[in-house]
């Protein structure tokens, strides 16, 4: 015989102001099976929980209903109260009378009260059919895989490794460092980007708990939280890293010159190259697309000059496997191609460059030794126009969102320009100045006052050439008139877009991504680091545009999550997962195709008792199943059962209203 206790919460004024709680409590007392119906101002507080614990013991309750806020908020709290009083924690049901009633029906107290009573009646009916459930233990492999060696990946790897957890850090390019290595100085303090980044890069290479695999990519990820198996392809570098000393003789003698992607194509690199002087590992790789030895079988100069004999033209891609318990995705960002801005003459005028090209030029180690130069004639520009929101906040040509970092780096560029070319002048066309962050607004002020940059609010309509100058025609919305600026150089602050390979990578990892290609977090506010797939975390611009402080903070948050996951030898897992009734299963495998977590596989079982013939049935992987219930809904033969949401429970709920 069911003995249910119902505990209704006032939630201060949140519930009590819009729902007549005493009336609800009285109505609840009449429901069949209810032994106790009580109310309290804050059920989640310690006295509130004590009230539940006492009632369970005194009245020998078999299940408990708490009518309060969303179960997302306090289900765990109340489950613990139940288990403290000796009741199975899964005998709890939460009736959400706050989000589902008081908050949404504030204008009609009578109806809200009635709805609250209905919700409680349903929860009571469901709780009567609840079954005792027990947490599942899943073993854990204590090794993390970090995908991407930018500042996000570096920070996450270092923080995890510092907790003495082995990390495998993989990076698709020959060196770690990512976008941050390309920057000159960083806002809002103007520290040199390389100076603060390279010590971290060296730490990664020398850390005993970090295995760095550069020039590689993930090609497969199987398994589930705590027990992933990753296949990693090490791309052929044609250089034996274990014997190479990084002397650089090969890169000096190589006769092939190709556009240098690290410097945004401003200068040339060789076919055998290290991306930049501070690269980690500081070993060259051969670019197979341009090396004449690999393409035509002629040359081989690098092999001749290498004293260690490290060049191996016969090297092939190698696939290695790593067992990992958690994955941190830190793939970073790309920049939007401003080609659609035809009216600006993008592509036609050489003196229109993107902000990252400008960044490389003003970098002390960059291709122009730190001086911004006009690509057309190599002269030092005097008047430079910066145009913000190229692609960002532009539904017609680009993307809808704000790229977040452009306001700040454009202010930085104005200051850097002033530092490098003292008699220059910066004009900045902007839509809004978004400078929310510690020291950010002050930094923009510094650009405006100290360097006397002219900030013009408005969009640029056209850029055309006059002599060797560019005329930038735009609107000054504050004056309400058209302005024309004679510019030597135009810098476009192009939008941040997700790394182009994000969607295929997301599919490979089994996580979701949004319409732009950013990886989706599990909850925009409360779980910003996790993905919907347990054990996979996001750091940096792979999730959304971010500046360096935010990226580093998120990377450290990932590390904290990974360390939390690895804190025990086994992981506890919610038992509310699907189970298969193999007797009834027809083996149609529709559940396999609808499962968003790839948690269902097939197995062969004997056709009958002792039979040698086999038939196929579905099998749930307990570690992977998240209990979403898609398979239950799709199963025609009703062979799948979701613990905690069984048919009797749901039918009880429906029948009770």
């Amino acid at each position: 015989m069911a003995r249910v206790g119902v505990f209704t919460c006032f939630c201060g004024a949140n519930i009590a102001d819009f729902i007549d709680v005493p009336q609800v409590v009285e109505a609840t007392k009449k429901i069949k099976g209810v032994k106790v119906s009580a109310e309290y101002k804050y059920m989640c507080s310690d006295p509130g929980q004590q009230m539940i614990r006492d009632a369970i013991i005194q009245n020998r309750l078999t299940s408990v209903v708490v009518a309060a806020c969303s179960p997302r908020m306090h289900e765990k709290t109340f489950r613990k109260a139940l288990s403290d009083a000796g009741l199975n924690p899964y005998m709890l049901e939460v009736a959400n009378i706050r989000e589902h009633s008081s908050w949404v029906h504030q204008k009609d107290k009578k109806a809200a009260t009635e709805k609250a009573s209905d919700l409680i009646r349903m929860a009571v009916a469901k709780s009567i059919a609840n079954e005792q459930l027990h947490e599942i233990s899943v073993p854990v492999t204590k090794r993390a895989l970090v995908i991407g060696g930018g500042i996000a990946g570096i920070q996450a790897a270092l923080d995890i490794a510092d907790a003495r957890i082995p990390v495998t850090l993989i990076e698709r390019s020959p060196s770690i460092g990512g976008r941050m290595a390309q920057l000159d100085e960083t806002f809002p303090t103007l520290d040199c980007s390389q100076c603060i980044l390279t010590p971290k890069m060296v730490d990664v290479a020398s850390h005993p708990y970090i295995e760095l695999i550069p020039y590689s990519e993930v090609i497969e990820l199987d398994g589930y939280v705590g027990n992933y198996k990753a296949k990693i392809r090490k791309k052929a570098s044609y250089v034996n890293f274990s014997t190479c000393t990084g002397c650089g003789a090969c890169t000096q003698k190589c006769p092939v010159k190709v556009s240098n992607e690290f410097n945004m194509g401003i200068d040339k690199r060789k076919a055998i190259y290290t991306p930049f002087p501070q690269a980690v590992p500081n070993k060259p790789v051969i670019d197979a697309e341009h090396c004449t030895m690999l393409l035509k079988g002629k040359c081989g100069i690098c092999a001749k000059v290498c004293e260690k004999g490290s060049i191996d033209f016969k090297m092939v891609d190698e696939v290695i496997e790593r067992e990992v318990g958690a994955v941190v995705v830190a793939t970073g960002y790309d920049l939007w191609d401003p080609k659609p801005y035809e009216e600006y003459g993008v592509g036609r005028y050489k003196d229109i460059i993107t902000s990252l090209e400008f960044e490389r030029m003003v970098s002390a180690s960059g291709p122009t030794n730190g001086l911004p130069l006009r690509p057309s004639d190599g002269k030092v520009p005097k008047n430079v126009v910066f145009i913000k929101c190229i692609g960002s906040r532009d539904e017609a040509k680009g993307i809808e969102y704000c790229s977040k970092i452009c306001c700040m780096y454009t202010a930085k560029h104005a200051i850097l320009l002033h530092h490098k070319v003292h008699d220059s002048h910066a004009y900045i066309f902007y839509m809004d100045i978004r400078a929310a962050g510690k020291g950010y607004e002050e930094f923009v002020k510094r650009a405006q006052v100290e360097t006397a940059a002219t900030y013009l609010r408005g969009r640029v309509s056209k850029i055309y050439k006059k002599g060797d100058k560019l005329i930038v025609r735009g609107e000054d919305a504050q004056l309400g008139q058209v302005v024309e600026v004679v510019a030597d150089l135009v810098v476009l602050a192009t939008a941040v877009i997700p790394y182009k390979e994000n969607p295929p990578l997301a599919r490979l990892l089994g996580i979701s991504y949004d319409k732009y290609g950013y990886m989706s977090e599990a909850h925009p506010k409360l779980r910003p680091v996790e993905t919907a797939k347990a054990g996979i975390f996001l750091a940096g611009c792979t999730q959304a545009p971010k500046d360096i402080p935010d990226t580093v903070a998120q990377a450290s948050a990932c590390a904290a999550k990974v360390c939390g996951l690895f804190s025990g030898d086994t992981m506890k897992k919610d038992p509310m997962i699907s189970t298969i009734n193999t007797e009834n299963c027809t083996g149609c495998q529709n559940c396999v195709t609808v499962c968003p977590y790839q948690a269902i596989v097939t197995e062969e079982i004997p056709l009958g008792h002792g039979s040698k013939e086999m038939r196929i049935v579905a099998k749930i992987n307990e570690g992977v199943c998240q209990g979403c219930g898609s398979c239950v809904a799709i199963c025609r033969s009703m062979s799948i059962n979701l613990a905690g949401f069984t048919d009797p429970q749901i039918i009880n709920e429906i029948v009770s209203i």
Binding site: A506, R507, G510, S512, Y513, D514, K515, S520, H523, A532, E583, N584, T586, G587, C588, Q589, N590, T593, V594, C595, P596, E613, I616, S630, I634, R636, S637, M638, D647, P648, I651
Partner: protein, 283 residues
Amino acid sequence: MDYTKQIQEIASKLFAENKIDYFVGCKQNGFDDNQVPFLITDPQDIPKLVFNDKSVFNLTNYLKADHTRRKRVGLVVKGCDSRSLNLLLTESQLKRENVYAIGICCEGVVNEKGEKAQNCIECVMPDAVVFDELLGTPKGRKDYIANVDLKELTEKPLVERADYFSKVFENCIRCNACRHSCPLCYCAKCCIDQETSTLYNGSNTTSSAMHALMTWSLHLAGRCVDCRNCEKACPSHLPLHLLHKQNEKVIFENFQQHLAGMEKDDRGAFYKYSLTDPDDFIL
């Protein structure tokens, strides 16, 4: 349309080469010119095989029995039958190598009045889509046309439609012949028969019948190939195609013009999960 001779030849060849254990075809019923399905285990019975415009049955229904689904079976499939065969293969109920399908480029079968059947007039794919050998000349895929009866019915107001259905389903005797005749109803135990579930009950009332039939039609949504085996089997002559055709229409209009069983490995509109589905609404 008469393929009797060709089919007899192929069947004897298959038995002679020991390629099949059973052959499923049609034979005359013995008292009028209608036919019945016919399962041959002995090559001596081959002369009894017939196939013409009175061969109305979807023979893939006889592949789902325990004694046929693991044996090597030869059978004749029309356009619609081959689509259900496709689904049975996709849903792992059969092994492709165990089935020898003689595909027919169908010209339509007749109804009990001897006229061309309505589903054949509205047929989208008269040629077999999966076969080991094909008889006749392929006519190709036709345009989808909405069902005539359904059109008539949907023009009526809601109350009249409800009246119509409650009157029609009153005649259901819950014999489950529709389920047994459907090639795609192969579950070992139908959801309607589950003792553990309190959802369904077997009582012979109009509401129970409607509940069961609606569930059945939803389990066939995106899978029904409009072979009308169910209607042929129904002793109460219920217009079951109305339920299936309505589902087919909704799915055709809303799921990229999806039609059941047209392609290999196509599980139907409701049985897919794609990471490219926009999931903005999932928290």
